[in-house]
């Protein structure tokens, strides 16, 4: 068993806008690219060009079809990664102390030197956010790019997670969700951001902005025909329309 800190100084996390995410997977490979050469062991691939390719990804996008009753069906693209929960069961279940939550910013990390690859944390996570790397035999998960966000060798503007930096639609936002005045907290307030599966009691830090209401059509401003074209003919229409100049 590993202990969680009673409180963290910040709650760094992601706010993901489901109204804007087009499901392009840019965040998936930007994450893979950065973390393949960043914190901890590389993210390996098995049978990379084979019949059954698989590999370690810290962030994946799923697409769902939604068919609400008596409404137009729609598609939702749903990026999924670690939510950096306040009450992270993946930490408390860890038998070696390898999984831990950072006191200074709340990031949940795996100390790979202490990880024995038992997989209990992946079992404990209700979000499926952890993946065992088959080559390294250690548990991998989103680090919020802890080796980017404080990295003094990077320009300040680049000190954000790779997925946020690359997102072409700007659907991913990064910041301190413990600060009610932070840009991400205001976004959550303005757009009704939600935690994922709060009933699991893990108190996720990340938030999702739900899709805006769709398919309402035009609300008002019907077109008023200038006149009944068929009754008065083309010449009448022309006079009326050109009279407007």
């Amino acid at each position: 068993m590993t202990c969680l800190p009673g409180q963290t100084e910040k709650k760094l996390g992601l706010v993901i806008d489901l109204d804007t995410c087009v499901g392009c997977h840019a965040c998936v490979t930007a994450c893979k690219g950065w973390n393949d050469q960043g914190y901890g062991a590389p993210l390996s691939d098995q049978e990379a060009h084979g019949a059954d390719p698989s590999g370690t990804f810290l962030n994946r996008v799923h697409s769902y079809q939604v068919s609400p009753p008596e409404a137009v069906p729609f598609t939702v693209h749903f990026p999924r990664s670690c939510l950096h929960c306040d009450d992270a069961p993946c930490v408390t279940v860890c038998p070696t102390g390898a999984s831990y939550k950072r006191i200074e910013d709340g990031i949940v990390l795996v100390n790979e030197d202490a990880c024995i690859g038992c997989g209990l944390c992946a079992w404990a996570c209700p979000y499926g956010a952890r993946e065992m790397d088959k080559a390294a035999g250690v548990m991998k998960k989103c680090t919020l790019c802890v080796d980017r966000i404080y990295n003094e060798t990077l320009p300040e503007v680049d000190r954000e997670p790779a997925c946020v930096r690359t997102c072409p639609t700007g659907a991913r936002h990064f910041g301190d969700l413990s600060d009610p005045d932070s840009a991400v907290s205001r976004l959550v307030a303005d757009r009704g951001g939600v935690a994922l599966m709060p009933e699991m009691g893990t108190k996720p830090v990340n938030r999702y902005l739900p899709p805006r209401a769709k398919d309402r059509g035009a609300q008002v401003s019907p077109l008023a025909p200038l006149l009944d074209v068929q009754a008065t003919g083309f010449a009448g229409w022309l006079d009326r329309v050109l009279g407007k100049i």
């Binding site: 995410c21 499901g23 914190y39 990379a48 390719p53 079809q65 831990y100 990077l154 700007g170 899709p211």
Partner: protein, 920 residues
């Protein structure tokens, strides 16, 4: 318990080299990080005008493209039967000598027997220059099976089209409509733009049979029935005209709406050949200063374009109630959409406090525009009514006054550029000499067709013939079928670059493979010689006789040029380069350098100096030193002494300056030139200064197309050059000078094939290249056929089921999946994923080959025979664009194909031998 000490500031890499991505055609700027000389990480370049720092899934995965096992590693000569994949490695000297031995005698006797067609190369300025100097008329790139309808309809109507030609005014637009757009070439810019609209709550409407990707985030989705977009657009125009919600002052000043149509359907003109308009009751040239042209005038029996147009679209045949069933959209929704467009355009105009002067010399205090913008791509253009549909969309933009005005659609330098400012096509062959001019262009009438003296097509693809007069990009999809049939004539050497014609880039793929291996009565191949250049072991490789292996995009020089397809923005002309950020580790050469070498060995003008020696060492040398016109070269930046922009002599340090600047250059449009470009004196003068134009070229947007009317007149029996009798009726319909809608030709098969079948491009995959990418193939490794609810239930499908999909000319058996957010008469799948076993360095049992498939097997390159003995291509009758999306099918549940333990899609083909470097 103490937390581990982390190194929070690790050095990312030893070095960053900035170049241009080529994981698709979007041309984003990338930072390539290197550690110990190897690529370690790729991210977007924040300073780059295209992607502004962001990067898509493909771009970041480029690191796995440059190590792909499918990379070709040395020149190859075929030793077994064609198609067997039996090759022997040869040296570059042998390879180039062989190519010269084949092509040099043809140049001296019959240059047209060499057909040179290129795929997604982005170096058409060089490849066309080479082909022109070789002297063959048979050259084009891949636009004919891509989106030439979109490009050509735009050029003929507004002097530019979508993507490279222009983009929505993301900053000011209030309502954005996408027609037929899934993922697109303009990958990151559209995503960035959508993000901007979403961030400020602007409305986005998707008109698409499939609610994927961009349509998934649209506020409203209209799941239109394929092939009916033109009908919907003309119905919107009907509603707007009926209500008088059109921009009359704009139409009068900047379009040919006030021009007078004479009894022959051509404009009344003055003695200087300028179209006449009526102003203050007098007939005057359209560009007379100070006039207010009269849209409602009549003159000597001639009426204005405005009247012809209004009369046509006010007709009840375009009323929402008349089109709703065919479009699959209820009439009230069509009216509501028209109302929403009118509201945004006319109740919320955008006014910028910016003075400007128009081409008549008339001053304007402000720039006022309409915040409605559009984007459209292959979904509307890859139909046999695609050209007229694309023209309809441009007409809608014009009527709103939303072309080149604030909030609307903005053109990018070197556009605007109307058809009249482009060259006409050329086809005159003289053995041993260059062609008489550029191959491709924009015909203004039958006099510009590429016909031989006997009236037969001069080009192997029949571009610019009566079958498709305005085929501005050629018809690459017809080259192999026509060459095999000897129609219009036989060729000798087919020279292809980066075009997977033996697989996903051909219609009727299995038959194309047979055509490539078919022999005549003399025992020789019907297409005697095939030279192919590609970086990877695509399905096409096995069908070539000589392979010239190309480099990957990080190992080469390239030039994204204003002479070709630049990276301009509405506010800046822009061009870019690629340069070798890593060196190839195998015996490969950049194709453009090879082409320049071949040009020198063949002694082609433009490639040899006065003494007959090579003019350029390689492509980099050409990029810097080639001058198309005095002072105008492939790159606009840092010319002359290093401070000249656009015009100036070659600068030996030019590429170094580009590399220092992140591999791109921008020339910014002055503030008073940013909008109204076709008519804005400040823009026209700036374009001349920077070398984009040689003289100011203001023009009127073309509601009534005179070039089309000239072809229609020919079909009616007027004029010297006359079409064959069997072509007249089709031409008369297709070449209507006002946009119109007619059913896609594929609809003739609808009775037995009730469903439309489409493909969409996945955002994380681009054509065939992605499949070999270790990361991307984990995202998209196979593709089911997506089926709408009605079909799913009627067939009793369950997850894991298979279906037989039958078209009038083919059959495939594939896995199915249910998709509710789909037009009820449409099935679809992702393109680019299905592979032939053994290709692309993949395991023969890769899911791409066992569970991935092509719809191409169902699409014939010809229309069903009409009993007239003619071969009618399955293409748009105006431009020849391949009508991929006219496909009609029926879908029936069937047993899974063998083997039982792991069913495989049908058809299957023999496993190709591995031609690449083998597994890493």
């Amino acid at each position: 318990m103490t937390q581990p000490q982390l190194d929070l500031s690790p050095a990312v890499s030893d070095e960053i080299r900035q170049t241009t991505c080529y994981m698709c055609a979007c041309r984003c700027g990338i930072n390539v990080h290197l550690k110990s000389g190897r690529v370690s990480y790729i991210e977007g370049n924040r300073a780059h005008p295209v992607n502004k720092g962001v990067l898509c899934a493909k771009g970041a995965s480029g690191i796995r493209q440059i190590t792909a096992p499918s990379r070709l590693s040395q020149p190859l000569r075929r030793v077994g039967p064609r198609g067997s994949g039996a090759f022997e490695p040869i040296s570059w000297d042998e390879a180039l000598a062989l190519a010269v031995a084949w092509m040099a005698p043809l140049r001296e006797t019959a240059p047209e027997k060499v057909a040179f067609f290129t795929g997604r190369d982005q170096s058409q300025s060089l490849t066309s220059f080479w082909a022109q100097n070789f002297g063959t008329p048979n050259y084009a790139a891949h636009g004919g099976f891509c989106s030439v309808n979109m490009a050509a309809a735009g050029i003929y109507t507004i002097g530019g089209a979508f993507w490279e030609f222009g983009q929505p005014d993301w900053e000011h637009t209030r309502l954005f409509l996408m027609f037929g757009v899934a993922e697109d070439h303009d990958s990151n810019p559209i995503k960035i733009g959508l993000g901007r609209l979403k961030a400020r709550g602007a409305r986005v409407i998707g008109i698409n049979p499939v609610r994927s990707g961009y349509n998934a985030v649209a506020d409203d989705w209209l799941g239109i029935t394929p092939g009916t977009d033109g009908l919907l657009i003309l119905s919107l125009i009907h509603c707007l005209l009926e209500a008088g919600k059109v921009d009359l002052p704009y139409l009068a000043r900047f379009t040919n709406a006030p021009c007078l149509v004479g009894p022959d359907g051509l404009f009344l003109r003055d003695g200087q050949d300028k179209p006449l308009v009526i102003a203050d009751g007098r007939a005057v040239a359209f560009d007379t200063p100070g006039i207010q042209p009269d849209l409602g005038a009549t003159h000597q029996g001639a009426r204005t374009v405005f009247q012809h147009m209004a009369e046509r679209y006010l007709s009840p045949e375009y009323a929402p109630e008349a089109v709703a069933d065919r479009c699959g959209i209820p009439a009230p929704r069509i009216r509501a959409l028209a109302a929403e467009i009118a509201d945004a355009a006319f109740n919320h105009p955008v006014t910028l406090e910016q003075e400007w002067t128009d081409f008549r010399g008339d001053p304007h205090k402000t720039m006022t525009g309409r915040p409605v913008s559009f984007h459209a791509m292959r979904g509307i253009s890859a139909h046999s009514n695609g050209f007229q549909t694309a023209r309809s969309l441009h007409l809608l933009q014009i009527l709103l006054g939303a072309v080149e005005t604030p909030g609307g659609y903005r053109l990018k330098p070197p556009y605007p550029k109307p058809a009249e400012a482009h060259p006409a096509p050329h086809c005159k062959v003289t053995p041993g000499k260059p062609l008489d001019g550029p191959h491709l262009g924009y015909p203004r009438g039958p006099e510009h067709l590429c016909l031989k003296d006997d009236g037969s097509p001069a080009r192997i693809d029949k571009a610019f013939s009566w079958e498709n007069p305005l085929s501005a990009h050629g018809l690459m999809h017809m080259v192999i079928a026509n060459a095999h049939a000897g129609d219009p004539y036989r060729i000798d050497t087919l020279f292809l670059y980066m075009a997977n014609m033996a697989w996903n880039s051909s219609m009727n793929t299995a038959a194309v493979m047979e055509m490539l291996t078919d022999r005549g009565e003399d025992g020789e191949y019907r297409i005697p010689r095939i030279i192919y250049s590609d970086a990877y072991a695509s399905e096409m490789v096995a069908y070539a006789d000589l392979i010239l292996p190309d480099t990957t995009y990080l190992e080469r020089h390239d030039c994204i040029s204003l002479l070709d397809r630049p990276i301009s923005e509405p506010d800046a002309a822009g061009d870019a380069i690629r340069w070798p950020v890593v060196a190839p580790d195998r015996d490969v050469r950049g194709f453009q350098s090879v082409l320049i070498d071949l040009g020198a060995r063949l002694g082609l003008p433009g490639f040899v100096d006065a003494a007959g020696g090579p003019l350029y060492a390689d492509y980099a040398d050409y990029i810097v030193n080639h001058q198309r016109r005095p002072g105008i070269g492939p790159l606009m930046g840092w010319r002359g002494n290093g401070d000249a922009e656009g015009r100036g002599g070659p600068n030996p340090a030019q590429l170094d300056r580009y590399i220092e600047n992140g591999a791109f250059y921008q020339a910014h449009v002055p503030d008073d030139a940013r909008y109204f470009k076709p008519w804005n004196r400040a823009y026209q003068d700036w374009a001349v200064r920077t070398g984009l134009y040689d003289a100011p070229q203001p023009y009127l947007l073309s509601i009534w197309s005179e070039p089309m009317r000239r072809f229609q007149r020919a079909a009616e029996g007027q004029g010297q050059r006359q079409p064959p009798e069997h072509m007249r009726a089709r031409l008369k319909q297709a070449m209507d000078p006002l946009p119109r809608w007619y059913p896609p030709f594929g609809d003739e098969a609808a009775r037995d094939y009730p469903l439309h079948a489409l493909t969409q491009r996945p955002m994380a995959m681009y054509h065939s290249w992605g499949s070999q990418n270790a990361w991307l193939r984990q995202i998209h490794g196979h593709n089911p056929l997506y089926v709408p609810t009605a079909v799913w239930e009627a067939q009793g499908f369950a997850p894991g089921d298979w279906a037989r999909v039958t078209s009038p000319t083919g059959e495939i058996i594939v896995p199915v999946a249910h998709m509710p957010a789909l037009n009820p008469h449409t099935v679809w799948t992702w393109n680019a994923i299905g592979k032939r076993k053994g290709a692309w360095g993949l395991d023969p049992n890769a899911p791409e080959a066992t569970k991935g498939f092509l719809l191409n097997h169902l699409i014939h390159e010809l229309l069903p025979p009409k009993g007239d003995g003619q071969r009618w291509s399955n293409s748009d009758p105006v431009t020849g664009q391949a009508a991929w999306f006219d496909l009609r099918v029926r879908v029936e549940k069937c047993a899974a194909p063998p083997p039982d333990e792991a069913p495989e899609v049908l058809p299957q083909f023999p496993v190709l031998p591995d031609q690449g470097r083998g597994r890493a």
